[in-house]
């Protein structure tokens, strides 16, 4: 979406017309959902935060600056909302999920490369490895940002990413 079109949509929103928000939604819902999903391991949570994101966008419509690069602005807001959600719920849910997760894929390096789908390939990863890959690829976060978000050393983050990439290479992913 061009900046001028985005500015028009914001103007519409400011006049109370939801059509402006709908255009932005249709253009960016996939992108925003991807960014959020990269941080939140649960699909339901990703859906919730994505919805909240667009509601929040409507709420702050009068404060949106239309001169700046809007895509970066949208991603930053979405990422911050997802990170807030993650931090609030991490102690309760995600940690339990990670603990309960069986250490899968340990023998993956010896497996034969097979024509498997990405979903299956991702299942071979440990949850913390999948999380780092998702944050890196989907949420476009740097290792430093991931390290701060997960509150673990950067060496651990890069080590997890390396392991994940090595495992995924076995399935033909580069």
């Amino acid at each position: 979406m061009e900046q001028s079109r985005f500015a028009d949509c914001v103007k519409k929103m400011q006049s109370g017309d939801r059509e402006g928000l709908k255009i932005i939604y249709e253009e960016y819902v996939g992108y925003i959902y991807t960014v959020v999903y990269g941080i939140l391991p649960s699909k339901e949570d990703a859906e919730d935060v994505t919805s909240e994101f667009f509601i929040h966008l409507w709420d702050i419509k009068d404060r949106i600056k239309t001169e700046d690069a809007h895509k970066a602005f949208l991603v930053t807001v979405a990422r911050n909302m997802a990170l807030d959600f993650y931090r609030k719920n991490r102690a309760k849910e995600y940690l339990d999920e990670e603990m309960a997760e069986e250490p899968s894929g340990e023998n993956i390096e010896n497996d034969v490369i097979a024509d498997v789908s990405l979903k299956e390939a991702l299942l071979s990863l440990k949850e913390e490895e999948r999380q780092v890959v998702s944050m890196k690829i989907l949420s476009e976060m740097t290792f430093e940002e991931i390290s701060k978000t997960l509150n673990c050393p950067m060496g651990t983050v890069t080590w997890r990413y390396q392991n994940a990439i090595k495992k995924l290479r076995r399935y033909g992913y580069e």
Binding site: L21, Y25, G30, E47, S51, I137, W159, L168
Partner: protein, 301 residues
Amino acid sequence: MSKNLEEEYLREIQSDVPDLWGRINAGIDKLEESKEKEESSRVTPINAEVKPKADNAKKRGKKRGVIALVSVLSAAAILFIVFVPVALLGIAVIFGNNAKFSNGSAEMSMAETSDSAMYYEEAASDGMMYEEEMEEAEEPYYEYSFNMEEDMAEAGEVQESLDSDNKIAALIQGEQAEDMPGEREESYSAAIPEGQAKEEISYVKGDLIAEDVLLRVDIVRSIDGMNVMEVTVLKDFKPEAFFATDVHYGECMIVKSDDQKLWDSLTNKILTSDSGIVLKVDMYVDESGLNEYPLVYLKSE
């Protein structure tokens, strides 16, 4: 078969995006409702206080009258507090000066009174005493000054010994400086970019020794504000093998090489520089996550 992880992952997630517009619309409705409620709750108490115009006008008039009275009274109080003491002071000064002028001649005669005579006598005797005391005090004074001289002499000796210490220190430093490889120091200094503190990267100069690997830092040059060093591997690898390292403001350096063997040999090793500084080698993965290099940094004790 090679598949693009990033592309496929993005495609898969984006193809799976649910339709959230209904939820968003409902959410906005809720938001608007709660906003309206908030606004109306803010407005109601104000409306409840609305009274007939005439009453309000009367009340406003009364209020204004009270405010005016209070302001006049407070202004009067301030004036009283500020001006009365000033006026009194002024009067006192004027009358005081007049009194002084009027009894100026009296002051002269005051010196001749018996009280003042006694005062002058006492003062004169005090002066004598003072002179006597001064005479008596002369000797100890010179003694003190003599002691001072002794002290000074001692201080001079101390200073001399300090000077000699400094000379020794200077000699030691000189020896140390002589011990340091002059040629390398010169070439190294020349290689440091302008404005860069020497200490920042000084620890990486010379040889870095690991169990099986010996690295020699040969050239330091600046590329885009980063110190890039060319290092020779002296042991276990081909002597002609060169590789570059990035020095991040003295904190760490990333050893870049295409040689997998080199990484394996360096990773998790402790390096000691010839100046005795201990460096640790760890793995570094760049932002693509696909290129890994040994990362060298100062070992924290």
